[in-house]
């Protein structure tokens, strides 16, 4: 780390310079919970920050070692409940690779549709809470949450659950598209595209939002590469990297979409990049609904995985998720390792909040779209 992090625990008497003060932000604070950030302030400026995470550490990786492959799915998607399908898919891919199961094309298309719907939901959640509430904008919270509920309804129709789908198992998705789903989804997308224009008017072009977020927390391209951040945070700094393009999974190889990037790397461009990604997701779902082939949705997969290890990755809404799954000829994995977007983006937080006003920290934190439960696992 380039800064010297303060010692753990609150030690106001032990501050390095007489003018500085250590302040503990969290785990109970008006913005969000389950993460404590220990900041050292000098007047109104933050000198250094030390994220103290782990308030939601539930030992997923250890639990995964004594449950079998399929019963691991529910608890491995809990870390990011707003983005459950990507966590699920990332875990299923390496198992399929180990077992040599190939998902039929229709199954791939259904998974892709579900995943992109989930991406929209997750970005709407981020827009509502992480970006809306944190910059004191309540209207966008109400709007985005209202529209998110429409997507949740459709996800419920498809998978049977509002947030925790457990939709993909080794071999393919659990269910086919229900009757009338395509029609409802395309009507919802029509509505949503109109809403996106209004979002732009009320939030992204809002002078007060621009004044608060523009130029705050600039992450330069070289720093972004060096720190190894992922997902929207990386692409907002001008690095064009998306697992959907570099290593296409699901049906992404057949579909056309762009990877939006921005050069500035500030909080405002991190806000905008999610907005652009939602537009791309709409485009992807439209194409997938058009091109979806007929046929079986899933293959039968064994409950046992052979010995060996496989690494699979997907692009979740918070960045690339890499799963390492090791099999040992039994029905339980011998090791599951999760490397997810939030944990990898965490390093950007102490880097970005140095020498900014205390009041800008929520903006930067919100623009990273950090999901503490995912980082803690």
């Amino acid at each position: 780390m380039t800064t010297e992090p303060p010692s753990p625990g609150i030690s106001i008497s032990k501050t390095a310079e007489p003018s500085t003060l250590d302040v503990s932000v969290g785990p109970q604070h008006p913005g969000s919970g389950h993460c404590r950030i220990l900041i050292r302030v000098d007047g109104d400026y933050i000198v250094s920050a030390d994220p103290d995470i782990g308030y939601v550490h539930r030992g997923c990786e250890k639990i995964a070692e004594y449950r079998n492959y399929v019963s691991n799915i529910p608890h491995l998607e809990r870390p990011n409940i707003a983005d459950a399908i990507h966590l699920n898919w990332g875990y299923v891919l390496p198992i399929e690779e180990l077992q040599g199961v190939v998902v039929p094309p229709r199954g791939k298309y259904i998974s892709t549709i579900a995943a992109e719907m989930n991406r929209i939901m997750s970005h709407l959640y981020g827009l509502a809470i992480m970006q809306g509430v944190f910059s004191g904008h309540t209207t966008i919270f109400m709007w985005a949450f209202g529209d998110r509920d429409l997507f949740i309804e459709l996800a419920e129709m498809l998978t049977g659950a509002r947030l925790t789908y457990s939709f993909l198992v080794p071999g393919g998705p659990r269910r086919d598209l229900p009757f009338g789903f395509e029609d409802r989804l395309s009507r919802l997308l029509d509505y949503f595209e109109k809403r996106l224009v209004e979002y732009d008017r009320i939030f992204f072009s809002n002078p007060s939002v621009i004044a608060r977020a523009k130029g705050i927390g600039v992450l330069k391209r070289e720093d972004a590469k060096k720190l190894g951040v992922v997902g929207p945070v990386l692409r907002a700094s001008g690095v064009k990297y998306d697992v959907r393009k570099v290593e296409p999974y699901g049906a992404y190889a057949d579909l056309e979409f762009d990877i939006p990037t921005f050069e500035e790397g500030d909080s405002y461009s991190r806000y905008l990049i999610r907005f652009e990604e939602m537009k791309q997701s709409v485009r992807i779902i439209r194409q997938a609904l058009e091109k979806i082939p007929k046929g079986p949705i899933a293959r039968k997969a064994p409950l046992v995985a052979p010995e060996g290890e496989a690494t699979g990755r997907v692009e979740s809404s918070r960045g690339e998720i890499t799963y390492l799954v090791m099999g040992d000829n039994s029905d339980k994995p011998s090791r599951v390792k999760i490397m997810n977007g939030s944990f990898r983006n965490l390093i950007a937080l102490p880097f970005l909040v140095r020498n900014v006003h205390v009041a800008d920290m929520p903006i930067i934190y919100g623009s990273l779209d950090y999901w503490p439960v995912e980082a803690d696992r």
Partner: protein, 164 residues
């Protein structure tokens, strides 16, 4: 899958082997875009430096530990990836080093790959692997006064929680 040409993977392995003839113990191409390299633990920093400067692997996606109680070893895995080198952007190179289980010590790669900072802290906490030269090796996730053994080791069970 066997028809896919694996020349890019072989090129990476070839370069590493040519540079570190004695440090690289074993190499394997898992499939297209995945390369596993077993190396001797003392050379971790040189290999990381070479990977970063010559091959363009500028970040790690994660650092993982794997406990192997039967071999009395702990394996440390580095998942290296690249943003800057468009040729190998889609690769994950898994570097593996075996450490003795009773005294796992390895040099830290934070000076080379800054992105390994929190990952090394996590591995230290979960497996007890000491990363020498890490600027700030503290516990990260578990209870602040966690006194028990590193929880991810295979023989650590928590019977009071109903584990078998």
């Amino acid at each position: 899958m066997s028809q896919v040409s694996l020349s890019r993977e072989e090129a990476i392995i070839g370069q590493l082997k040519a540079r570190f003839p004695e440090a690289i113990e074993e190499t394997k191409i898992d499939r297209a875009r995945r390369v596993t390299i077993h190396f001797e633990k003392d050379h971790v920093q040189e290999i990381a430096m070479f990977m970063r400067d010559e091959l363009g692997f500028d970040h790690v996606k994660g650092v993982a530990g794997v406990d192997l109680p039967t071999q009395k070893k702990i394996e440390v895995l580095y998942f290296a990836g690249s943003y800057s080198n468009a040729e190998v952007q889609d690769f994950i190179v898994i570097l593996k080093a075996k450490l003795p289980r009773d005294n796992p010590i390895i040099a830290s790669v934070v000076s080379v790959w800054e992105s390994a900072h929190f990952h090394e802290r996590e591995t230290f906490e979960m497996f007890g692997v000491k990363f020498e030269g890490h600027p700030d090796l503290r516990k990260l996730l578990t209870l602040d006064n966690w006194e028990g053994p590193p929880p991810m080791l295979k023989d650590i069970k928590f019977p009071e929680m109903g584990q078998r």
